[in-house]
């Protein structure tokens, strides 16, 4: 007898077989994809019994028969997508590379004159596979993580960004992944690779959006490398449509004296999971992982972060904030690893949550694994309601209840957004989130 789980895995194995027949790839990548598929077949979908997935139930993803999108998006869709992107990114006038249903969309892309090398994984795999071989599938662990395994088995396209040595790229580089499937529930596997060479500096923003219907599953992996003394600002904006599933991993491998600041904004999807992870693998590095999740209705979002101190004299900072309405549920799990060599580590973590409804819930947990003795690690978490005194104070001055509430909630959120250095990007996100916050609730 075959179990439901086996049927699901068979489905993915079949899809992998079809994909592998069509997709051109160098032999080393085929080997990785094969190994990843085997790993997924072995691991299966996680269940609530897995410690790391205790509060996030992916049964709904497992149940649905998602298929990779086989055809290109039609003309009429392209113009709708163009309008959508324009509305989202009107403040940003830097280069952008766009993917629709996991495929490069040349007609929506504009990467002229940025100083960075911005291309696609698909093209690089054809023309210069040796340039990406040292980085692809090196940090995101497909042997242990079922969704990374699934994404890796289907590596096909995504952004490939290289910031040359000593180059400073002024404007943020936007990587936009659009899910716009027709008909059947679709699975999309975006895969991005970012390499910031020695002493370079750049900002990369990943934006994920999608069509309202039908439902789809985005399983994204981004691998980033910051070489010595490089500065990489990274923003991830998850603005998927209401019914979507979004599961993503982002790894940042940091060399000596590099700085990575990543902010993850979670607004969309019915079920979302973000796993940003920094490995501080050289002395003097600095890693910042900030995040904001704004949830309503029956949304569920899980932020599983990792700050891995492998070498001495590194600092890490983490500020995660959540705003939860309705019956939404949130998870924050902040892992900080300090390995035996990582003396003089200085790490600070905080997670603050604002529950706007009695039915919303948040599970928050720091997870410290400290193997060195001369380190500073602090962490703290709070869960609170709307400040009734502040609300009354504002109303007593004539500010309406709804406006007062929106101001307070926006102020709570802006504490995270104000930490984004690039002003147009910051203002664009603030505008988007304020509108979202004002539109929800009563």
């Amino acid at each position: 007898m075959t179990t439901a789980t086996e049927t699901q895995i068979e489905n993915y194995l079949r899809q992998y077989g079809e994909f592998e027949k069509k997709a051109k790839a160098p032999e080393w990548l085929r080997a990785i994809r094969r190994e990843a598929m085997e790993a997924f077949a072995e691991l299966g979908f996680p269940t609530l019994r897995h410690e790391d997935w205790k509060y996030t139930n992916v049964a709904a993803i497992k149940r649905e028969e998602f298929e990779p999108v086989s055809s290109e998006a039609g003309e009429e869709h392209i113009s709708a997508i163009r309008r959508r992107i324009q509305a989202l990114t009107s403040e940003l006038d830097g280069p952008r590379v766009v993917f629709v249903n996991g495929r490069y969309a040349a007609e929506l892309t504009d990467v002229r004159g940025s100083g960075a090398r911005i291309g696609t994984l698909g093209e690089a795999l054809e023309k210069r596979p040796e340039a990406i071989e040292p980085y692809l599938a090196r940090s995101a662990d497909y042997r242990a993580h079922p969704f990374v395994a699934l994404n890796t088995a289907f590596i096909g396209d995504g952004a490939w960004i290289e910031i040359p040595e000593r180059t400073v790229v002024e404007k943020p580089i936007a990587v936009i992944h659009v899910a716009w499937p027709e008909g059947k529930p679709a699975a999309v596997y975006p895969r991005n690779l970012i390499v910031a060479r020695r002493e370079s500096q750049a900002t990369v923003v990943e934006i994920y959006v999608g069509a309202e219907v039908p439902n789809y599953f985005t399983n994204a992996v981004t691998e980033a490398v910051a070489e010595e003394n490089a500065v990489l600002e990274h923003v991830k904006a998850q603005l998927e449509s209401e019914r979507a599933f979004h599961i993503a991993t982002a790894t940042f491998h940091q060399a000596r004296n590099s700085i990575v600041r990543s902010t993850t904004v979670t607004l969309g999807a019915a079920l979302a999971r973000e796993e940003p992870a920094c490995v501080l693998d050289g002395e003097g590095g600095e890693a910042t992982l900030n995040g904001l999740y704004v949830l309503a209705g029956t949304q569920h979002a899980d932020s599983h972060t990792t700050l891995d101190h492998a070498k001495a004299h590194c600092g890490s900072r983490e500020v995660y904030k959540g705003i939860l309405e309705g019956k939404s549920t949130g998870v924050f799990n902040g892992k900080i690893i300090v390995r035996p060599d990582a003396q003089k580590t200085d790490s600070k973590q905080s997670n603050k949550n604002l529950l706007l409804s009695p039915d919303a819930t948040i599970n928050t947990k720091p997870q410290l694994e400290i193997w060195a003795d001369d380190v500073k690690c602090t962490h703290g978490a709070t869960i609170g309601q709307m400040d009734a005194e502040a609300l009354f104070y504002m109303r007593s001055r004539g500010i309406g209840r709804k406006e007062a509430r929106n101001l307070l909630v926006a102020a709570f959120a802006n504490d995270v957004l104000d930490r984004i250095n690039d002003a147009p990007l910051r203002e664009s996100l603030k505008r988007h989130i304020s509108a979202r916050l004002a539109g929800k609730g009563d």
Partner: protein
């Protein structure tokens, strides 16, 4: 008559704090309310402003011909009621200027006046800030966050000066001020005295009333107004304390 409070009873968590307040305030008058700690002065002020942790169990309040107790706090403010808090609230992340402009525009909208943009607004508040000798940098900081006690009180008076209420209730705005700050705050309040504006000053200290001279002084004790008189009453209270005042006849 701008304000008429009749037999007002209010409770918090089931405990009766106001036990039948009667008070009438005519347009243009300044009334002082004094009384021992815990007698219910702030409760009265908060009830008038509309704080919902206090439940009104009996009585009524007529303000400017309207049933005040039926109005939402923001509607009271828009109708001209202003209460300077004994303990002003800190609002992290919301700038003082933004806050005050939002308040003023809400009130102006109610009055059918045009909303002010940031430039017009700044021009308008500059003189009030000067009058109260307030540090301008406080305007760009989050509301009351990290302000000293005196700065918070001054900020309340700046708000009053900008919002131009019809009825101002100042709850211990003089507490915790040194004499120089007290004079500044008092002159800010005096500048607001007008034929069409009434002011209630809640205070523990007769000293304030040397600068803001009231028309009438009331003593609030154990949830009731137990004595009312001219400004000389404040001097008497200063000398003798509250002990000599008996419960009113018939209470």
């Amino acid at each position: 008559m701008l304000l008429e409070i009749k037999n007002l009873h209010a409770t918090v968590n089931g405990n009766e704090i106001l036990k039948g307040i009667d008070l009438k305030i005519g347009l243009g008058e300044v009334h002082a309310i004094m009384g021992p700690n815990g007698s219910g002065k702030s409760t009265l002020a908060q009830v008038l402003a509309g704080r919902d942790v206090y439940a009104v169990t009996e009585g009524e309040v007529i303000y400017d011909g309207k049933n005040l107790l039926e109005m939402a706090p923001e509607d009271r403010a828009r109708a001209g009621v202003f209460m300077a808090f004994q303990y002003p609230v800190e609002i992290p992340g919301v700038s003082n200027t933004y806050f005050l402009r939002a308040a003023l525009n809400a009130i102006r909208k109610q009055r059918g006046e045009e909303e002010l943009d940031a430039m017009d607004f700044l021009a308008r508040i500059r003189e009030k800030i000067k009058l109260l000798e307030m540090d301008e940098t406080l305007m760009t900081r989050p509301v009351n966050e990290g302000f000293s006690g005196g700065e918070k009180k001054r900020n309340e008076i700046v708000q009053m000066a900008v919002l131009e209420p019809k009825l101002a209730i100042l709850d211990e705005t003089d507490s915790g001020l040194d004499i120089d700050a007290l004079k500044i705050v008092a002159s800010g309040v005096n500048a607001m005295r007008a034929k069409d504006r009434s002011i209630i000053v809640v205070t523990h200290y007769q000293r304030l009333l040397n600068y803001i001279v009231p028309d009438t002084v009331h003593v609030l004790s154990n949830g009731r107004i137990v004595k009312s008189g001219s400004k000389e009453l404040a001097l008497e209270l200063e000398q003798k304390g509250y002990g000599w005042i008996e419960e009113p006849v018939g209470a």
